[in-house]
Symmetry: C2
Subunit: 328 residues, 2 copies
């Protein structure tokens, strides 16, 4: 089993790689190689594993080099993030749409129709001026993306669906919720502060919250997110049910509830490090994202949302205590 | 007022051009120029009009030449048709997706954010294995395209929506129903026979119907289709209601009802010229297209479906009697 992970040196890609290497198997087969394509080199711990192969460089160029090489499973996580795409329209199209097409063509050329898991995003949902989102997002809710990032993700879902229909890949679109708590530093995603307002105070640093305390968010822990991605990769086509993207299960919390959990676990001192400082651009983007999802399709695959935000904060602290989280 | 029509030498493009030239005005302004971009030269009657400018060549190259030129309204009708795209995946992506991106970039470079009407298609709707279409398609029904043509149209809708949100264009996505009766010869569209089974017998020629008599189709006459495209171009953004594509009004008929109208108007001899000869590829594509639409959003713009199929057949005969329908 040869696995390719794009964005493989990023936070989620590296975590996925570690999880796969520890499992040693995917879809019932032993994993011989995990290739990590990324503009950055993989973290040291991954590089030290003899099964890891680093493919460092822009995805567009990597795709040209990999054209026709056989992988059994491809996880396509690489993307320019939401705030970047909103600030630089052309960068977003190039990084998210053109690179995905190049990768799809590279994989198609191999001719083995590998599993191809595309990480899309709940950001495909946004409130069109005349098409307000329903209170609860269902599997068949029409996405009307209100950001270039969301548009690009939704377009790539369509490409993955059609490459699958044509038999070029066995593609699966999986929409990630906002992942909290991300370790490391802010990454330019509009949603980055959701991690920052927990991570920074627990590290004794100040954090700015750019949205109101009553803002609700649909989120998932890193562990549940990676678990969901792997479950979608391993599911039979029948269990998946069609080529429409699968929304991973979401826990709905308010910023206030997040800060309450921070205070309960990290103390009043940690809580006091969070300052509210509204950012209209971030607030507009985030407030458009839906906060409540019908999780039943994901649950049919055996996936459950995180039980509560307290458990997410505790898991973050436990992982931090276990050793430094290696990032590029 | 300078107007650009891509696919301007095709059946619908030429008809749109004739209608605009006859109206002399669009959006309340006199029309000074109608540029017809197409791989073919425009029909003679259009070339003879001093307001017409022919831009003959591939859209990709035309877009490079037109980059930055100011048009007030752009009608983007050019596309590879459904059966072509299904037979040649790469051609479809190039002709429909890449050319549309090139055109959008050309128009964006002009900086005047013109009205940009993208002709999408009811073919964006198809039955995903696990997401059967509802009995009636509404404005917020999730498209799950089951053809490369439908996927490409849906992707371009997303691009048009985002270029609009960013202020690069004032874009409007309009989904055309199957247009019947098309004059001229079959054009390689999977839906082409819907015109053929009326047009050919009325011309004394045999026609083959590749689907069963009970097959239902959502269709519109050429006149109503062009009327709808112009109404969408002239509508205020508020009247349009959001950036989600607008489904033009549809008349739902069965093949049997079409043949009954043919016999009522053209006689038993005409009817006898139609032979049923099933084509599984065409039948699979067409049976996946939805046949019943909720027309209320289009009706709010003042658009109505054709009243019945008899009137469509009579209009075709009246136009044919008025003189040859000029095609390239």
């Amino acid at each position: 089993m040869k696995v390719l992970i794009t964005g493989g040196a990023g936070f989620l890609g590296a975590r996925l790689a570690r999880t796969l290497l520890k499992r040693e198997r995917l879809s019932g087969k032993p994993i011989d190689e995990v290739a990590l394509a990324d503009q950055f080199a993989p973290p040291r711990d991954l590089l030290a594993d003899p099964r890891v192969r680093a493919l460092t460089g822009a995805l567009m160029e990597q795709s040209a080099k990999l054209r026709g090489e056989i992988f059994d499973t491809v996880f396509h996580l690489a993307a320019a993030v939401s705030a970047e795409c909103e600030a630089d329209f052309d960068l977003g199209l190039r990084s998210n749409l053109d690179s995905t097409r190049a990768l799809l063509e590279a994989v198609r050329a191999a001719g083995n129709a590998p599993r191809f898991i595309f990480s899309s995003s709940a950001a495909v949902y946004g409130p069109d001026p005349a098409f307000p989102l329903p209170a609860v997002i269902r599997a068949d809710t029409l996405p009307t993306p209100q950001s270039s990032y969301g548009i690009q993700k939704f377009i790539c879902e369509q490409l993955v669906a059609d490459y699958t229909r044509k038999g070029f890949i066995d593609g699966r679109n999986v929409r990630l919720m906002t992942v909290v708590v991300r370790p490391g530093r802010p990454n330019g995603a509009a949603s980055g502060f959701f991690s920052g307002i927990v991570r920074e105070p627990l590290n004794g640093q100040e954090a700015i919250c750019p949205v109101a305390a009553e803002t609700r968010v649909a989120l998932a822990s890193p562990a549940r997110t990676v678990e969901g991605i792997i479950a979608v990769a391993e599911a039979s086509r029948q269990a998946l049910g069609g080529r429409v993207a699968l929304n991973l299960p979401a826990l709905t919390v308010t910023v206030q509830e997040m800060l309450d959990a921070l205070e309960a676990i990290g103390g009043a001192k940690a809580r006091a490090l969070v300052r509210f400082e509204p950012d209209p651009m971030i607030a507009r983007l985030v407030s458009g994202w839906p906060a409540v999802f019908d999780n039943s399709r994901a649950q049919a695959l055996g996936l459950e949302p995180d039980p509560d935000f307290h458990s997410i904060v505790r898991a973050f602290l436990a992982e931090r205590a276990a050793g430094p989280i290696l990032l590029h």
